[in-house]
């Protein structure tokens, strides 16, 4: 493996500024890493497509840097989840129903990165329409964990985390509706940030659960995430839920001073339900926080026990509406054998995979007459209760701490046919989406089987900087990474 691919995004930035390397050399190294791996006995399968024009774009950025007309991210390579649109590039959301679809416009986040000179390496694999926790529900086959290929990388942004973990990209964009950036980051031993709802524009992100979706970032280093966030964040007139948080001064990232930091440890996510190795890792992380002067207190948030149930009503309800657009008429797959209604049914039967069908069914069920009050309205009420509880918690505490996942990564196929067990994998991450707050997964240890374990910090809306600065303090002390 080329040494070049071992550099973090911020290290690459420095090397390019010093003219020690060119962007074309760097992108070539990633392309070689991807191609060699793709020919291996058990390929990672992290990319659905490595862009053929990545090297040309890198070379164009090299010229801009020579002419001193470059942006802040000039020549920096980034991988992109297959549900974020780039004009002219295919975007399939890992689904057969979007096979062959090319994006007619560019996501705001991509446009901002592009303006500053970022080079996009390719489209990364994902659970179909971001519905999954293992990256096995993809039309393009499962992605494997770069640490141990018998295991899943986590989902749904499994491809994004896997290519960063396997040094086929220094950083990647993902999306997180219930933990889809943080869980893969945890399983692959990386840092993964889900910003607060509204921090990043979702214009050009294919919608799944619109009150929950956020674009997130996976990298080896919190500073890399800060660099990308500083460019991408900010209000966007094309996403009415975007917020006017400015993070332009977030990079360079300053490690946080943890003295006096008030940390809440909810017992519902830090107890017997977690595996031994996860509890051991959590204890080590808590010790470190205390050594740094943080004040860690156990608290009880009873409604945290209900987040998976709330999520699996609200997210499918929103998905059943968002995915109604895939009807075979305007774009994507069409099976027009029969009349118009047959066309809808044939197209959707052939184009959607099993998990997507389950969620659309649940969504239609909980929204249908006679069930709406019992399920959807009830879930919204409990979500409101939870949001209110977190408002109160953040008057007394700065961050909420838990493991990112109750277990280390599991083996491929282990939970594939048992939806509820798969859903419970997200028990620690879902609340941040329901409440709309930022959360980060930090690589904090390894299991007895040598598999990564992550810890999750969640903070107030608008406090991404605090989460990243704590993560950087951890990274600087030589935490597992």
């Amino acid at each position: 493996m080329s040494e070049i691919t071992r550099y973090s995004l911020t290290e690459i930035k420095t090397l390019l500024e010093k003219k020690s390397l060119t962007s074309e050399e760097i992108v070539s190294a990633y392309q070689t890493a991807y191609e060699n791996d793709n020919n291996a006995d058990i390929p990672l399968n992290g990319y659905i497509e490595f862009f053929k024009d990545a090297r040309t774009r890198a070379s164009a950025e090299d010229i801009k840097r020579k002419n001193n007309t470059h942006g802040r991210l000039s020549g920096l390579p980034i991988a992109v989840k297959d549900n974020i649109l780039i004009t002219g590039k295919k975007a399939t959301c890992g689904s057969k129903i979007l096979e062959g679809f090319s994006a007619p416009y560019t996501a705001t986040v991509i446009r901002r990165l592009e303006k500053e000179g970022a080079v996009f390496l390719g489209r990364t694999n994902m659970d179909e329409f971001a519905m999954g926790s293992s990256c096995e529900y993809s039309q393009y086959g499962p992605t494997r964990n770069p640490v141990n290929r018998e295991y899943v990388p986590g989902g749904s942004s499994g491809g994004s985390a896997a290519v960063v973990g396997a040094f086929q990209a220094p950083a990647a964009l993902g999306s997180d509706t219930g933990g889809s950036v943080r869980l893969p980051a945890s399983f692959c031993g990386l840092y993964g940030l889900k910003p607060g709802y509204g921090t990043l524009s979702r214009y050009g992100l294919v919608a799944y659960g619109s009150s929950l979706d956020q674009i997130g970032i996976v990298a080896h280093n919190p500073a890399d995430i800060a660099l990308l966030l500083s460019v991408c964040a900010g209000i966007d007139s094309k996403d009415s839920t975007s917020r006017d948080f400015s993070y332009s001064d977030m990079f360079p990232l300053t490690p946080g001073n943890l003295k006096g930091l008030k940390v809440a440890l909810p017992v519902q996510l830090n107890g017997e339900g977690n595996s031994d190795s996860v509890r051991k890792t959590a204890a080590g992380f808590i010790d470190w926080l205390k050594q740094q002067g943080a004040d860690v207190s156990e608290i009880s948030i009873p409604n945290l026990s209900y987040t998976v149930a709330i999520y699996y009503i609200i997210a499918p309800a929103e998905a059943s509406s968002n995915l109604a657009r895939y009807d075979g008429i305007e774009y994507g797959l069409r099976n027009d054998n029969g009349n118009l209604l047959d066309m809808y049914i044939n197209t959707r039967s052939e184009g959607f995979g099993s998990e997507v069908k389950r969620r659309i069914f649940i969504g239609n069920y909980v929204l249908s007459s006679g069930y709406y009050d019992a399920y959807y309205k009830k879930a919204q009420a409990v979500r409101s209760l939870l949001t209110h509880e977190f408002d109160n918690i953040f008057t007394d505490y700065d961050i909420v701490l838990s493991p990112t996942s109750p277990t280390p990564p599991f083996k491929l196929g282990e939970k594939l046919d048992d939806p509820v067990t798969m859903y419970l994998q997200d028990i620690c991450t879902i609340y941040a989406n329901l409440v709309g707050i930022p959360a980060i997964s930090i690589p904090a240890g390894m299991s007895n089987d040598n598999l990564p374990i992550g810890m999750q910090l969640a903070g107030r809306q608008g406090n991404e900087n605090l989460l990243l600065s704590i993560a950087q303090s951890w990274k600087n002390r030589g935490g597992a990474a």
Binding site: F101, P104, Y197, S240, Y306, L340, Y365
Partner: protein
């Protein structure tokens, strides 16, 4: 467990089909999920306004001014079924007349 009448009604709303051999398995999985989410019934929410504490309080709306939009040539690139400004779909009116 969902009864057959409800199952078929909801499946109709989904606009996809589940083949006969897979239907029982699919129905069992749906039953498991619904049983799980029913744990929310344990919580008393009679005093809760579902709108309380929503994550979005204010939408930032853009000015009511014309902006860029997709042009017709782009739509043509997206779909082989786009002809002369329209999407071609299977015949509808004739089908209905035949059914009469």
């Amino acid at each position: 467990m969902i009864d057959d009448k409800t199952f078929n009604a909801v499946l109709g709303l989904c606009r996809f089909s589940i083949s006969g051999t897979e239907q029982e398995h699919f129905k069992n999985q749906i039953g498991d999920i619904i049983s799980y989410v029913e744990k929310l019934k344990e919580i008393d929410t009679s005093h809760i306004d579902p709108d309380l504490g929503k994550t979005i309080t204010v939408n930032d709306l853009r000015d009511d001014a014309p902006g860029e939009s997709l042009i017709r040539t782009k739509l043509e690139e997206l779909s082989p079924h786009f002809e002369n400004g329209f999407f071609r779909v299977p015949q509808i009116i004739e089908e209905m007349e035949e059914k009469k």
